[in-house]
Amino acid sequence: MTTVALKPATMAQALTRALRDAMAEDPTVHVMGEDVGTLGGVFRVTDGLAKEFGEDRCTDTPLAEAGILGTAVGMAMYGLRPVVEMQFDAFAYPAFEQLISHVSRMRNRTRGAMPLPITIRVPYGGGIGGVEHHSDSSEAYYMATPGLHVVTPATVADAYGLLRASIASDDPVVFLEPKRLYWSKDTWNPDEPSPVEPIGRAVVRRPGRSATLITYGPSLPVCLESAEAARAEGWDLEVVDLRSLVPFDDETVCASVRRTGRALVVHESGGYGGPGGEIAARVTERCFHHLEAPVLRVAGFDIPYPPPMLERHHLPGVDRILDAVGRLQWEADN
């Protein structure tokens, strides 16, 4: 066993490294989007790629999201592996026509003859004090579209591993980057980055017995913090990080809920019609007889993303989560 040197790295650095390694290994990988070249992207995730691989492989495109994704479709049809960057969550909406009408179903409508290995990187979610249209959680729209994989890392290691797996996937992947975790640091081995696991497995980030918090992306650190705080109340919370919203890992989630008997889904996007509804339904369908209480959700409010000075009231925080955990206990006691 060799000991690996762990160094502090940010999620943004791990993403850059993933892009770089993928481009170096496979000449068909092309990065494209607004400002991804000279500037290195507004979050600097594509920093240095144009310099290292040339502007033909890391391309500043015209400012047109449908055009970016639409031309990526043609490039993928010709055997390239485009990785497109949508600058912010809410600016991906002009590309939805291409995403839903073509990207998600090209494999299916051509009976497998024409898969589209496109990775669509979307910085998403709030908590960075962004002005309007810079903080949306759009995962429910993507999840509702068959033919897309939808993944979102919550750790530095996963940012690398999941992005490599997404680029390697022969299917289109919507890669949601929790922008408020871009600068979160973690010890990680940048010299020998973690192996690329296939998409679709959830992981238990913290084992516990009292209840399961099911979460992903930007809400993972909040849930872990809540689990620590809950110890004072005598609750021992398990935290499951989904990592992949499509496909969904029923196995890991249900195994946890069967152990704990209680489940709470936590995410930033609105609760009504949101991912939590789907997850709660799946858990209820599969674990009903193990449940001591109804599956609860802590989500953002069902409002357009609020202005930054109010966002802390909108985002699920530790108090709201502990409150909900309290209700899980209460249901059990009565």
Binding site: D56, T61, P62, A64, A66, G67, L69, G70, T71, A72, V73, G74, M75, A76, M77, Y78, G79, L80, P82, P94, E97, Q98, S101, H102, R105, M106, R107, N108, R109, T110, R111, G112, A113, M114, P115, P146, G147, H149, S169, D170, D171, G200, V246, P247, F248, D249, D250, E251
Partner: protein
């Protein structure tokens, strides 16, 4: 210091000199649609090409008639006819080399067939047994695109990718006059011009987008004029003159192949039939207009030229019609067979590897089908 404070010292300067980035004049389309048939230019046209175009037009007309008949028999769910527009469809197909790509819209089945695609495979979308009944890579024909103009950026991306790889490939994308109002049209043209992608856009201006006439679609002098704003040449052509459409497209394809970048071609033509078999065209246009266009029929135009110049005789015309009849008979025979469909195909090819959720649903359907077979359902 403000301007007021530095009174006397301040001299207003003109803005830095400005020049147009390129000279727009060569990009402008001609004042009238380019024609060959019935003009001096016809003498230069290659007789073999004219005969080939003629045979394909006759076959195309018969194909349109047969497909429309199949809708009446319930064998096709819907058919958007290109009767009257065959010159555009056929020229688009014949102008491409084998390695080139065609990006058709939902109306352009005929272009795909003229490129060599099996007529039955070309019709699966409209018949309803599968969306795309062929391997796009094998034929270098993208799936027929139903959402308007969305195939245009695909053509640009593919052409761009081919050029990056150093391959000699041109993409030709078809779109209707209504489709030019979509954002994707704009974005595709802009990307194509910025990237100098080897792509040709052919707008078939057939007068209507379902019921909406061109006057309500655009205020531009012509659709070809739109090219100038992107920095690519715009060409206007008589869309019923097969020789002219072929020549203009051939020029544009050559220009693209030689690294000259994209061209926007607007072909002025007319949709003789209704939008589809489900549409009632009498609600938005009169007979006189249709009759005027019938008098400018693409087949009659070419047949006249060929006959005048002694390039075809009765026997030649009959041979073209016979070949078209054979194609129609084969198409009928194939389409009259019920397609054999496997419901389990529903779950094939959604992803490279089905998700656990899809596997579960697949099992559910398999069980239902088994129960149905056993009559327990």
């Amino acid at each position: 210091m403000t301007v007021m404070e530095q009174r006397g010292a301040y001299r207003p300067t003109p803005p830095p000199a400005w020049q147009p980035r390129t000279d727009p004049a060569p990009l402008l389309p001609d004042a009238a649609p380019y024609r060959v048939l019935g003009t001096e230019a016809a003498a230069q046209a290659d007789p073999a090409l004219l005969r080939r175009l003629y045979a394909e037009l006759v076959r195309g007309r018969r194909y349109n008639a047969q497909a429309t008949a199949l809708t009446k028999q319930g064998r096709l769910a819907v058919y958007p006819s290109t009767t009257g527009q065959e010159a555009c469809e056929v020229a688009a197909a014949l102008v491409l080399q084998e390695q080139d790509w065609l990006f058709p819209s939902y109306r352009d089945t005929l272009a795909a067939v003229a490129r060599g695609l099996d007529p039955v495979q070309a019709l699966t979308l409209l018949r309803g047994d599968w969306h795309t009944g062929y391997d796009p890579r094998e034929h270098r024909i993208a799936p027929l695109s139903t959402p308007l103009a969305t195939q245009l950026p695909h053509a640009v991306g593919l052409a761009h990718a081919a050029r990056l790889k150093g391959d000699d490939v041109v993409a030709l994308a078809l779109v209707g006059d209504g489709g030019t109002s979509e954002g994707d049209f704009h974005e595709a043209l802009n990307f194509a011009a910025v990237w100098q992608a080897p792509v040709v856009f052919l707008v078939q201006n057939n007068g209507f987008a379902i019921s909406v006439p061109l006057a309500k679609q655009t205020a531009a002098p012509s659709l070809a004029h739109k090219a100038v704003g992107y920095g690519m040449p715009g060409r206007l052509v008589d869309g019923n003159d097969a020789a002219a459409v072929h020549e203009v497209l051939a020029d544009a394809v050559r220009h693209a192949r030689e690294g000259g970048g994209p061209t926007l071609v607007e072909a002025i033509t007319y949709r003789i039939e209704a939008h589809t078999n489900a549409d009632d065209a009498t609600r938005y246009r009169g007979d006189a207009e249709v009759e005027a266009w019938r008098a400018h029929d693409p087949i009659a135009l070419l047949e006249h030229e060929l006959t005048e110049r002694g390039l075809i005789d009765e026997a030649g015309i009959k041979a073209a019609r016979d070949a078209a009849e054979t194609m129609a008979a084969e198409l009928r025979a194939h389409m009259n067979q019920d397609p054999v469909l496997d419901p389990m195909d529903l779950f094939a090819d959604v992803y490279a590897e089905p998700t656990p959720q899809l596997r579960e649903q697949r099992e559910q359907l398999a069980a239902e089908l088994a129960a149905e077979r056993e009559g327990t359902h």
